[in-house]
């Protein structure tokens, strides 16, 4: 497994993949179409951000990719294998982290978990030593190496989970919300680590997250789904081109402004924290900030303004809330 076969063929191919859950029994059973026919192709070495609002079907799709769930329809191949059928075999080539749930042994120190994983993943002693050394250094595990997992902080635990997922040098890393609940430093540690894993070792990574800065910093491509349907598949820039380059301007007036004077075509007046300020969304390709400031001068005396750049977050919000059609 240590040598990487450089094949051109895609590493993940999902073809009209579907999953329908049933809630309740018998005649009263309700169908929940969690994933509607979804097709997706991932090339080796890609870093995919798999995005969508709560309940979009991200986790369900991921569980089908790693063989936990059997699809209700369609087919999926991961590294040439059918996940639900060849689960054990495929697991040897996968690293999996669920941010919401630990995969480590709760009562045991990390070290013991790794010893067991070494046997499970058939890692030989030399490879284990080498990989462990790297991971301990990169993830800075040595200080809590002997602490039982249940006593670790969330950030420590997540570093431990990442190391556990990478011990056997998987070809593909699947991460379901690995940064959930982490503080700023812990997040940036995790990101730096993932970036290195992807760029240097060419590990294919599929990541779900609700944190758009994860995506901006890491992903080479994003796939957005909503209600089980794929709404977008491409690069962040590509998404911006299609949705319009959204930007935000936060303006504070000296006194309560004349709201009517702020209603400008093409500029969305979104929210304000108090009765003196306003958050405006606009398309960077259509307006410049000075133009906007000029136009809202009528509303009142401006005390302060600042540019906000949560670009992707804005785009996602319009995608999730809108009818799903991307403005062409």
């Amino acid at each position: 497994m240590s040598e990487r076969t450089q094949t051109r063929s895609p590493i993940i191919v999902a073809d009209n993949l579907e999953k329908t859950f049933f809630r309740g029994r018998g005649r009263k059973a309700v169908q929940i179409p969690a994933v509607k026919p979804l097709s997706l192709t991932v090339e080796p070495g890609e870093f995919i951000g798999f995005l969508g609002p709560n309940g979009a079907g991200k986790s369900t799709t991921i569980k089908m990719l790693i063989g936990i769930l059997e699809p209700s329809g369609g087919t999926v191949h991961v590294d040439g294998l059918i996940p639900a059928k060849h689960r054990v075999h495929l697991a040897l080539r996968l690293g999996v982290v669920f941010g919401q749930r630990t995969q480590l042994w709760w009562d045991l120190p990390l070290l013991e978990s790794y010893r067991l994983l070494k046997v499970m993943y058939r890692v030989n002693e030399a490879d284990y030593r080498r990989q462990m050394e790297t991971l301990v250094e990169l993830l800075d595990l040595s200080s809590f190496w002997h602490t039982p997992v249940r006593q670790l902080s969330l950030g420590q635990r997540m570093r431990g989970e990442l190391a556990a997922a990478l011990l056997h040098r998987p070809k593909i890393l699947v991460l379901d919300e690995p940064t959930i609940g982490l503080d700023v430093t812990a997040k940036s540690d995790v990101r730096r680590f993932l970036l290195r894993e992807n760029r240097e070792r060419r590990t294919t990574i599929v990541l779900t997250t609700h944190d758009m800065s994860d995506v901006e910093e890491l992903c080479t491509r994003i796939v957005v789904i909503n209600q089980g349907i794929k709404m977008f598949d491409g690069t962040v820039n590509h998404l911006e081109e299609r949705t319009g380059a959204l930007s935000a301007l936060h303006v504070t007036f000296q006194t309560t402004p004349l709201w009517d004077a702020i209603n400008l075509p093409g500029i969305e007046h979104l929210s304000s924290d108090d009765d003196r300020s306003v958050l405006l969304h606009y398309n960077r390709r259509q307006f410049t900030p000075p133009q906007i400031l000029e136009q809202i001068r009528e509303a009142g005396r401006i005390e302060d303004f600042r540019m906000e750049e949560p670009r992707l977050e804005l785009i996602m919000r319009t995608l999730y809330e809108g009818d799903g059609r991307l403005g062409e």
Partner: protein
Amino acid sequence: MGILSGLRLYTAMARTTLQSRAIYRANFGLSLVFNSIMVTAELIVTLLLVHRVHGILGWNTAQVMLLFGMATTSGGTYRTFLSELSYFDKYLVNGEFDAVLTRPVPAWLAVAGRSVDPDQIGLVIEGMAIVAVSGTILGIFRLDAWLVIGELLAAVVSGTLIWMAMVTALAALGFWTTRVDTLQPMVLYGPQTAATFPLSVYPTDIRMLFYSIFPVAFGTYLPAMVILRKGPGAVMVLVSLFAAAAALALALRFWRFAVRHYTSTGT
């Protein structure tokens, strides 16, 4: 997966389980005492019953005690090695099974690896003591002691396999129903308790159930008949072993089928 690598994996998982159980080690002595009180009480009730009716259809008190001892031993062995599977539904309800399925290990083996519970060894010891005492009273070790001991060991193996088969099948049902714990007394503990008595006390159609859907007869009654020289020849011990192994194989097939119907949980 080969038997050898499966065994290696199992050993490693079992060791890890023992390590994490060691944290709560204070329980060991306690559960030993608790188990032995339970077993003794059950034994006394059983024996009083048999004594009241002056033996059951040709089975005297010591013979019933032997049967009871055999059942206790195999029940204890199963509990030592596969205890988690009896509360398997908790894995399904809280989604812990997801974590099991992300590992490159057959799911049943992974659950078995988490099941080792040394606290239950007390049951095995008590069962063996009961077998030794009743066997001595009955004088079964006087002639051909080694053959009898061999037959007893084989009986414990089939008894354990039968337990495992039934528990596995029941756990597999958990993939479809959340009512496994309500079924358990009826389809698992019921038949197993029934098998601590000579099955000849039950009406024929019920007895047939114990040779088929709930194959407890192969774990206790049939081998005990051989050991007590009540008719069936020694070959029946082997037949029982074979039947028990087949039952487990069948249960495992059902289990694998069930795992593919796992629906996980939303978060």
